[in-house]
Amino acid sequence: MMLEITNIHKSFGENEILKGVDLKIEKGDVVVILGPSGSGKTTLLRCINFLEKADQGHAIFGDIDVNLKTASKKAIHGIRQKIAFVFQNYNLFNNKTALENVTEGLVIGRKIAKAEANEIGKKALDKVGLSEKYNAYPIELSGGQQQRVGIARAVALNPDIILFDEPTSALDPELVGEVLTVMKQIAKEGTTMLVVTHEMSFAKDVANRVIFMDAGVVVEEGSPKDIFVKPKEERTRKFLKRVLPEDYIFYI
């Protein structure tokens, strides 16, 4: 087991967002989390990476075993070294070029020599199809290109897992494709991925496991076929009916 999270709880004020979620991820898994807005998908992802502090919960991550609420700075740093994160709003460093965005974490975070980091960074940008844009600043890039830099920044760190928080939700529809293509490609290479998305096609074609969340709990999980073709829970059925065309079953 590469990552195991148990009984994670998180509230914002009176509002309980996560009500005891368990999650297990094996090496090489591509897990997609589906669910309506406000179901706690993003919060779950953010708690795993300590961008939000969970109120309760436990994580076993390789050799690190921590309480999500009381984790020490050192444990947080250790876990973050194993995880990369791709944000909905890209969150590129606006004062740095595409290449610097990718190498920043390598040079400063991982203490890799600059020349070597540049090599790794260029390779990562080549992989996402941005060989021409090494020296472009984020403002000079389209949304799709910015998100691809975001993915390159994550891939370059060679993490154990990459978390994707709605990576295509902020993009113009015609730019979604280029980002999904890159994500499919790195999934094929065996990258372990945990993806929150509304892109059903990605869930169907790429995921080996789909988790359906609603109102702060995991309603059901299974293979894409299990979830899309024969969902057991009424809530899942309702959700799929809403987000997929009537004849969605023929897409499978």
Binding site: L51, N91, T97, G105
Partner: protein
């Protein structure tokens, strides 16, 4: 009969005023230095989590911004020695420039705390999150990602406040500081209060040149530091 307006007074008074420019610049420079440091502390208090610190910092800013410079100057000039006197310390022989620097440092700090706070808050917090996610420490994320961008946002307002401070600094002559303003007053008094217009014109010209120089400097600085902020045309 002597002319009412005589250009030669302007030409003659400029070289007499110039040596006192260094007093003006020194007072302004020190006020900016101390004011910026105090401004940073106040901004940190406003941004931080402590409610008491926040209240103090905002209260300070409100009071200082609502006090006219000249009133604040008299308050420090008469107030500080009075307080010191209570503790048996005699501050009567202290250089007047000290009170001017204290006054304008306090005032500049209030302005700068807002400049620093707003420019810090203008940088999207997401970049900080991204930085810690790729393995930077909180401090590294601030120094390498957030502050360089906040600095560029702050520059125009900082330059503006600095110009304001330099001009307000002219009030220091009221407590008897001899900067270029004080010197101009002395020259006019020496002329039995005639030809004041020419002397003030000379003074204005010096302030104009100084202000334009500062303005240009900040425009240059903004250009140098704003990489990634403007679209750079690539060939």
């Amino acid at each position: 009969m002597e002319k009412y307006f005589d250009v030669s007074y302007i030409v003659e008074s400029v070289p007499m005023l110039i040596p006192f420019l260094k007093v003006t610049l020194m007072v302004a420079g020190l006020s900016v230095l101390f004011g910026t440091i105090l401004g940073f502390i106040l901004a940190a208090m406003k941004i931080g989590n402590s409610k008491i610190a926040k209240k103090i910092a905002y209260g300070y800013t409100t009071i200082l911004r609502c006090t006219p410079s000249i009133v604040l100057l008299f308050l420090t000039y008469y107030g500080i020695p009075a307080i010191a006197d209570n503790f048996g310390v005699n501050l009567n022989d202290i250089d007047k420039a000290v009170f001017v620097v204290i006054t304008f440092s306090l005032q500049f700090a209030a302005v700068m705390s807002e400049v620093i706070r707003t420019s810090y808050e203008s940088i999207d917090r997401g970049q900080f999150e991204a930085a810690v996610c790729v393995g930077l420490s909180n401090t590294q994320a601030y120094w390498r990602i957030i502050l360089p961008q906040a600095f560029v946002v702050a520059l125009p307002n900082f330059g503006n406040s600095l110009l304001e401070l330099m001009k307000e600094g002219a009030l220091a002559y009221t407590i008897g500081l001899i900067d270029i303003m004080g010197k101009a007053e002395l020259i006019i008094a020496g002329n039995y209060n005639t030809h004041a217009l020419e002397i003030y014109l000379a003074l204005a010209v010096i302030y104009w040149i100084l202000s334009i120089a500062i303005e240009q400097l900040f425009l240059k600085l903004e250009k140098v530091f704003s990489k990634g902020k403007q679209v750079i045309t690539t060939t």
